[in-house]
Amino acid sequence: MATKSFFEDMVIDTEEAARNLDRAFYEADHGINRIDTSDAKGPITDEDELRRILGW
């Protein structure tokens, strides 16, 4: 993970890369190796609440 990722695209230019991505789709569509995001909190966006929390 690096800042330069923001400036680089992913290029699928080999059969191996295409196979890997195809397998990732297959696994997702068959419920394999999923991460449960139900306990994600989500962002606080209310500005008044943020001012109160931060004391700004």
Binding site: M1, S5, F6, D9, V11, K41, T45
Partner: protein
């Protein structure tokens, strides 16, 4: 570890530049200087340009303290003609038949502070994927990409990502997580 998630853009809108700068400057990232530098020097600039969105995990008992952060954005994925990609695969990816380009969500930075528990990284990943799930429902796109060094491949595999390929410089692995279709 308890935390609250706050969008950086919301803090920018509070118009308290000195307080925000002090908060960002005090961040001490675990291991990676690149991630610490990004938060201190580039996150606000890229936020204002609309190039990325950064979400801070703050300590609920000391809200001025950043426990970690995740920065997300959008990038393209291109698939040249000679790759051997099947037509069905191209449709699943929404690859444009003329430009050979599809879209992907990107987790560009993920970092926890020296004071945060190791589990915070996984929670920040969940926060990002939860936001991508919502974006997928609104505008589509199932592919989430994260780039990592060799030693982090197994970590991201444990979080549901698959290794796809190397980046152009061959120093990072490009990993993919595919969002579930809304049935």
């Amino acid at each position: 570890m308890d935390y609250i998630i706050v969008p950086l853009r919301s803090l920018i809108r509070l118009d308290a530049d000195d307080s925000l700068k002090g908060m960002l400057d005090s961040y001490q990232g675990y291991k990676s200087s690149d991630q610490e530098m990004f938060l201190k020097e580039q996150a606000v600039i890229m936020e204002k340009k609309g190039m990325s969105r950064t979400y801070l995990a703050l300590d609920p008992n000391d809200a001025g303290k950043i426990l970690g952060y995740v920065s997300i954005g959008l990038r393209c994925m291109s698939v040249p003609d000679d790759t051997g990609v099947s037509g069905g695969f191209g449709k699943k990816m929404n690859i444009d038949p003329e430009s050979k380009v599809a879209q992907s969500y990107l987790i560009g930075q993920l970092s926890r502070s020296t004071d945060a528990d190791s589990g915070l990284g996984r929670m920040l990943l969940k926060e990002a994927l939860g936001m991508f799930d919502k974006a997928n429902l609104i505008v589509g796109c199932r592919l989430v990409r994260v780039d990592c060094t060799d030693e982090l491949i197994d970590y991201y595999k444990g979080c549901g990502f698959s290794r796809v390929t190397k980046n152009k410089a061959k120093d990072l692995n490009q990993m993919a997580y595919i969002l579930t279709m809304d049935e």
